[in-house]
Structures are given as C-alpha cells and as structure tokens.
C-alpha cells in the first residue's frame, strides 16, 4: 500500500505536474487538485494489485502493424488557412511571447 503523504508533499507533486503540463494553478486550485490526484493514485494502486506477470501490455486496441503512407503528396494548407485561428500572426508567421535561449 501507498505510504500516506503529507499535505506539503502532495502540493509539491501537484505543482510539479502542473509545471510539466504548463498549467498556472492558484493555491485554491492546488488544494483541490491535490485531493483529486490522491484519489486517482489510490485507484491506480488498486489496479496495481492485480497480478499481471507474463501478460503483454496493450498499447493499441487495434492489432495491426506496418501501416504506411501511400506516398502521394497532399495539398498543404495555405499560410492564410493555417494562420486563421492564430491569436497573433505576422508575415506568414505565428507570433508567440518571446522565448529566448538564455
């Protein structure tokens, strides 16, 4: 069974997961999600009790292999089409907040 975790550990976990998922969370939200994540982990732990030794994991429900492109080229989207839902764009480019490599 899972060791009970302190509230601090839980909120640190949640903060880490939120950071990885690029989600800005308020303190109130952190508390809510900590509790929810706890329940999810409990559920996963319950599943983990099933003995799956020697059972191949399923990664896809369709048991097919080697599906490839047909080789023909399709008409790409035009820049106008591609950019039509972008909040900000300029000269054919999508514009985003500055990302600097240090």
């Amino acid at each position: 069974m899972r060791q009970p975790k302190s509230d601090l550990q839980n909120s640190q976990n949640i903060e880490h997961v939120a950071k990885l998922a690029n989600l800005p969370l308020s303190n109130a939200e952190l508390a809510i999600y900590s509790e929810q994540l706890d329940k999810i982990i409990d559920y996963i732990n319950q599943l983990n009790q099933v003995d799956t030794k020697g059972v191949e994991p399923t990664f896809s429900v369709r048991e097919i292999t080697n599906v490839f492109q047909t080789g023909e080229q399709n008409q790409s989207l035009t820049a106008t089409e591609a950019l039509q839902n972008a909040p900000v764009h300029k000269d054919n480019f999508f514009v985003t907040k500055g990302i600097f490599e240090d």
Partner: protein, 442 residues
C-alpha cells in the same frame, strides 16, 4: 594543475534530417528550403486536434540503412513513443520519437584517434523521430514557422567511447560520408541537416569507471564550436575536480565571443519527458525487410577505400580522398572504365585529386585530357623499363601470381611503377613493358 592525469569521456548524439519526399507522419512535401514560412504544413504537422499521423515508409527504410551501415541490428518489434514537453516550436506538446523500442540497436563504427589508432565506437541506438518547427526571435516576440515541423529526423546515440577530440572529429566526418553515400541526407552542418550533441566528463587516466556526472553540450550548430566547447569543458572540469569541487549533471551552451561554455540548465531543471507509447501509431515489424535493403545499399566509404587499395593499388591517402566523396569516386570509376586500360588508376586518381573541382569534371574529358596531353609524360623506354624491373623485383610475389595466370595482378605492378614515376609514366607503355618483362622472365 595536472591536465595530463585526466582523460575525456565523451558520448555523442547526432541528429540527421532525412531527405525523403514527404514528411515523417503526413503527406506534406519536405521541399521547404527557401520557401515562405508556413506553406508546407497540414493539420498533422500543425498538431491540430484530431489529426492522425501515418508512418512514412521511405524514412523507416533510410533509418534502417543508417543502422545497418553502422553495424546495428534491426529490431523485430519497434514502436514510437510520445516525448512530452512544451515549447512553441512543438505544436502538439509532444514529439513523436522512440524510447524503449528503437528501430536499430547495438552497432559500431571504427574511428581514428589522435595517435592515428583505430578504435571501435559502440553505437547504442539509431532511432526515428520528427523535427520541430523553427523559431526566430524578433523584438520581444518569437516568430514560428512550422515548415520544418514533422521532417523525418534520425538520432544516433553512441556509448561514451570517445576519449579525444580527434576521434569525435573523425566520427562526425565518417557519419557525414555514410549519410551522403547512402543518399539519405545532404548532411550539411551549416544548413542544420546534421546536428551534434556531446555528453562530456573527465576521469583520472587508468580509471575504467564512468564518471557520476556528465555535462551535456547542446545547441552548438557548428562543428568547430563543438570542438572548442569540448576542449574548454576538459579544462574547466579538470580545474573543478582539482579544487575538490563536485561536478553535476547540467546542460551547457557555447559563447563564441567569450570562447567559453555557459550554463543553460541545471540538474534540478532536468526534463521529465514522461514518455509513453504513441497510441495513434501501430507497431513496426520490419526486420524481414533487411535482406532487401542490404541489396539496395551502395558501397560504403570504408569498403571503397579497401577496394581501391587492394584491387587498384592506390595509396591509402588517394583512396581516402576519392572514397570520401561519392561524386568524386563516381567520376573516378567512370573515367577509369572509359580509359579501358590505357590509363592507370593512379594517373586518373592524381588528376582528379589535383583538380580543384574533381567531382564536377566530365569523366570523358578527364580521360581525353590525360591521353592527349603527353606533357611531362615519361615515354623514354629505358627509363620505364628500369622502373618496371624495380617494381617486379620488389614485388616478386605479385609477379609470381601474374605468371601463374592471374593477369589482373599486373594492375598492382602498374600502380607501383606509376608511383615510382610520380604518375608521370605513360601507362600504356608501362603495361606493355611489364608484360614483356614478366613473360620473358618466366
């Protein structure tokens, strides 16, 4: 400070963009170079919701060719996985890559170190993935072009088997030659077709253990800078160890103005990619295609060098120059064939190596020029006869083989005479003289 008491331990990751017609997981054209931004894109490579990827077979075949050229085994079962991280050049929020089930594993490549000694570098894996879009920085914004998003990319990972910069240089050069002779990539470093990352640490000479840290040198887009960064790291890390400092896992870049590496990301910020199998792509079972692919693979530079030396008696240096450029070797072989025995391999080789643009010369013209310009040619029968006698005397075994009936052995003797005359002897006369001598002495 004793720099000599330490040795470098380096592992390399090389990314190479394939030159397939289509992108990796969609039918967009890859022919985007010099084209306006965001004109070679579709819902798949833009990561629009609901878009489904389909694997490009041509890319998988190229990836297998690279793996086989590096003496890898093609996996019976191979799978794609999602590598999750957020960056504006990655529209889906994950890159489709391979992690636990790479296409090719367990190979090697022989490289020369700083003492000219040959060492086997173990290849851990050769796997298939996709490239990201391209960011340009403008004022306080970043501009994103997704034309490159989804271009097939192959990653080649070595074991930490490099101990000097010369080996790294030789490895990169050999890989580039392999990509070009396989025809799978232009492998142009300046254009970003081929990118290098190095994991660098140092350890006391004699130690067999891997250091418990490694510094990742990343985003260095020139080979010269990579070499400079490795040299810099060597000194920096040794100085730190001598001072009793502890080195940790980190990512560093190269500052060309200051000629030093700088911290990009520390250990605590290390990425957590949460790989998991890509549910939208079926498993690959392509090991059975290996036989066919091997048949389609051209002769690789190493094999070509061996053949030029053994069958055509070229010296190592000439064989190397010719084999390193597949266009040049094509001109060479065609010219040699056209000359139909009237010119020696060495004469043709020298002509091409000494031309500034040997690879773009017309083979017919090369032969014609060599045959018509008798300038500087040694035609004196006595002189040629003297050299031929020397050659036979010094290569008695080869002469014996010829006399026993293996007539092609004469090529090797012609090569010796041509070398003695520094390529100036009239090849037709050399052949004639040798034949006369060999047949009369028997």
């Amino acid at each position: 400070m004793n720099q000599d008491g330490y040795e470098l331990v380096i592992g390399l990751e090389v990314h190479v963009e394939l030159n397939t017609k289509n992108k990796m997981f969609c039918n967009c054209s890859t022919d985007y170079f010099g084209q306006p931004a965001n004109t070679h894109i579709c819902p798949v490579c833009l990561g629009l919701p609901g878009a489904l990827p389909i694997i490009n077979h041509e890319a998988i075949q190229s990836c297998m060719k690279i793996g086989l050229a590096l003496n890898c085994t093609v996996a019976e079962n191979s799978r794609f996985e999602r590598k999750n991280y957020f960056y504006p050049d990655l529209p889906k929020g994950f890159q489709i890559s391979q992690y636990r089930w790479p296409l090719c594993t367990g190979g090697w490549l022989e490289v020369s170190d700083m003492n000219g000694q040959a060492n086997k570098i173990r290849i851990n894996r050769v796997h298939q993935e996709e490239d990201t879009g391209k960011l340009t920085h403008s004022n306080r914004n970043s501009l994103v072009d997704y034309n490159r998003s989804g271009i097939p990319l192959v990653e080649i990972v070595t074991e930490p088997d490099f101990h000097d910069v010369e080996s790294v240089r030789d490895y990169a050069k050999k890989l580039q030659q392999i990509f070009r002779s396989l025809g799978v990539s232009n492998a142009d470093m300046e254009k970003g077709d081929m990118r290098l990352e190095a994991n660098v640490s140092v350890r006391p000479v004699g130690s067999q253990e891997l250091p418990d840290y490694r510094v990742e040198l990343k985003n260095i887009n020139s080979f010269r800078f990579m070499v400079a960064a490795i040299e810099y790291e060597r000194s920096r890390q040794i100085a730190a160890l001598e001072k009793g400092e502890e080195l940790t896992q980190e990512t560093r870049g190269w500052n060309e103005e200051k000629k030093e590496t700088y911290l990009q990301r520390g250990k605590e910020e290390a990425h957590d990619y949460r790989y998991f199998p890509e549910p939208d792509l079926p498993e690959l079972q392509v090991a059975s295609q290996v036989v066919q692919i091997k048949k389609e693979m051209p002769e690789l530079p190493e094999a070509k060098i061996r053949r030029y030396k053994q069958d055509l008696s070229l010296p190592q240096s000439a064989a190397q120059v010719l084999a390193s450029d597949s266009n040049l070797s094509k001109v060479f072989e065609t010219a040699l064939e056209i000359s139909a025995g009237k010119l020696t391999a060495l004469t043709v080789a020298n002509k091409l190596i000494n031309s500034q643009n040997g690879a773009s010369l017309l083979p017919e013209k090369v032969v014609q020029d060599l045959l018509t310009s008798k300038e500087g040619l040694i035609e004196d029968n006595n002189e040629i006869s003297k050299l031929a006698q020397e050659a036979i005397k010094e290569n008695a075994q080869v002469a014996e083989i010829y006399r026993k009936g293996k007539l092609t052995a004469i090529q090797s003797l012609i090569g010796v005479v041509m070398r003695k005359s520094q390529g100036k002897a009239d090849a037709a006369k050399v052949k004639e003289t040798l034949e006369k001598l060999l047949n009369s002495e028997s």
